[in-house]
């Protein structure tokens, strides 16, 4: 801990985390823009290291999504409390479901539904290979997906991520410090971040996230193209989040996501490895999932992923999405 000179976390505050561990950081960042925050923290660590401000940044996350005893109260004067909360537009399932329904209206309900089923079932198959996953021992068929109950139409239960307790941490160090680390480094080759609204009713386009900006920025910095990506870690708060993000990142065009994920292409054995930990849908989602994207990408790039190891995994694209499809952070990681 004595080597740590920067603390980045979203919630609780860096004040709490640093105090708890007895760290006196000289650089701090409490950026809290939803589940993408930790991905964005990595980008900020990169900048602080490049500027020569710090050598070792500690990024932390812990959240009791399932067992929490209190929820923070809303600021009743805030825009969301005046214009959305009174109607029951109160949580991500409602916000994302309205975006998804608009997407269905534009690109076709049956095709979109099938894509969401493909994503849910493929992600579950990865979870069945991860002994730490919540649904490790629980397979799911297409019929089970389609027969499941509604949470918020058009979302079935398996379209929605888990809400469980969890946590993780990530250390970002300077190349100099990396030489003396016990494990081989994973390099941050590109980073991008952006947000374009807070409330879902203010989203400029319900069918496209601002990953269309953060994605190209990160890929350009890393000097890669889509075909260079061996592993895609795509924030899956909902199946729809994955569908719109793949399109926003340019893996396929608008409305082409259904064809892109068809025939279990993203499942184990498919030719597009995605969310290999089992995702927020079937592995773990605490409320702010971004940290787990980083952990899985790192394990895969180091060849530590066991039964679910992606062969010859050299480049991973990580995309976190936070808020009401509001913020994105994209990283290109490599070994």
């Amino acid at each position: 801990m004595k080597d740590v000179d920067a603390i980045y976390c979203a919630n609780p505050s860096p004040l709490t985390i640093a105090e708890y561990f007895g760290i006196t950081p000289k650089h701090t960042d409490g950026t809290s823009v939803g589940g993408s925050s930790f991905v964005i923290h990595v980008a900020h660590a990169l900048e602080a290291i490049a500027a020569g401000r710090i050598d070792v940044a500690l990024i932390t996350h812990g959240e009791s999504g399932r067992s929490q005893r209190s929820r923070p109260g809303a600021d009743l004067g805030a825009p969301g409390s005046q214009y959305e909360l009174p109607f029951g537009i109160a949580a991500p399932p409602m916000q994302y479901a309205m975006a998804c329904n608009r997407y269905m209206h534009i690109y076709g309900e049956d095709k979109t539904r099938q894509a969401m089923a493909e994503i849910a079932v493929a992600t579950r198959k990865w979870a069945n290979l991860n002994e730490k996953a919540f649904f490790y021992e629980t397979p799911m068929s297409f019929d089970e997906y389609h027969d499941s109950r509604w949470i918020v139409y058009p979302f079935h239960l398996p379209d929605c991520c888990l809400t469980i307790d969890g946590g993780g941490a990530c250390v970002v160090v300077s190349p100099e410090v990396a030489k003396s680390c016990a494990k081989k480094p994973v390099w941050v080759n590109g980073a991008g971040e952006a947000h374009d609204h807070g409330l879902i009713s203010q989203m400029p386009d319900l069918t496209r996230t601002i990953a269309h900006q953060s994605g190209p920025e990160a890929m350009q910095m890393a000097g890669i193209t889509h075909s260079d990506v061996d592993l895609a870690m795509i924030y899956d708060s909902f199946t729809y989040t994955v569908l719109t993000t793949l399109e926003s990142l340019g893996f396929c065009g608008p409305g082409e996501g259904a064809d892109f994920v068809a025939n279990q292409r993203t499942a184990p054995g498919g030719d597009f490895a995605m969310n290999t930990n089992g995702g927020g849908l079937s592995y773990c989602h605490t409320g702010m999932y971004g940290m787990f994207l980083l952990l899985e990408a790192t394990r895969q790039l180091r060849g530590e992923a066991g039964a679910r190891q992606v062969e010859n995994c050299k480049t991973s694209l990580v995309n976190g999405t936070g808020g009401a499809l509001s913020s994105t952070g994209t990283l290109v990681l490599g070994v």
């Binding site: 909360l85 949580a91 309205m98 139409y153």
Partner: protein, 139 residues
């Protein structure tokens, strides 16, 4: 006269730049903010135009008519919401241009009753003495 508290969620607390909006709703009128430089109406009310950063803005009354832009049907009880389920949440595209978040009422919450693009119009729901919510029903 006191209106029984019929709120099914948190009751909004108007702010300086939204006092006018909520006062007009209490009188069962829907008003929007308009950017005078672009001539475009916007929601929610802000003193500064989200299009130009200009403070040259005005208020216009909405016809209360629009079309269903998107919706979702909530089947599960949610934190801080005490009304019955299922219920319909939605965004309506007003004739004047802006999207407004709302509930669709006066229709059974079933996808077969709802078509994106269908015409809807405002209906007012007094939830407390001072707060009235703009909800929408099919025309």
């Amino acid at each position: 006269m006191t209106t029984e508290n019929k709120a099914t969620g948190p009751v909004p607390v108007p702010q300086q730049e939204s006092d006018f909006y909520w006062e007009k709703l209490k009188a069962h009128e829907l008003w929007l903010r308009k950017c005078n430089e672009t001539g475009k109406a916007y929601f929610y009310p802000r003193d500064i135009s989200p299009f130009t950063f200009s403070r040259d803005t005005s208020w216009i009354q909405s016809s209360g008519k629009g079309t269903l832009f998107t919706y979702a049907i909530c089947y599960t009880p949610i934190p801080r919401y005490t009304g019955p389920v299922p219920f319909i949440i939605a965004m309506v595209e007003l004739e004047e241009g802006p999207l407004i978040p709302t509930n669709i009422v006066g229709v059974e919450p079933d996808p077969s009753n709802l078509t994106i693009g269908m015409p809807v119009e405002v209906t007012y729901e007094d939830i407390t003495d001072t707060i009235t919510l703009p909800k929408f029903k099919p025309v």
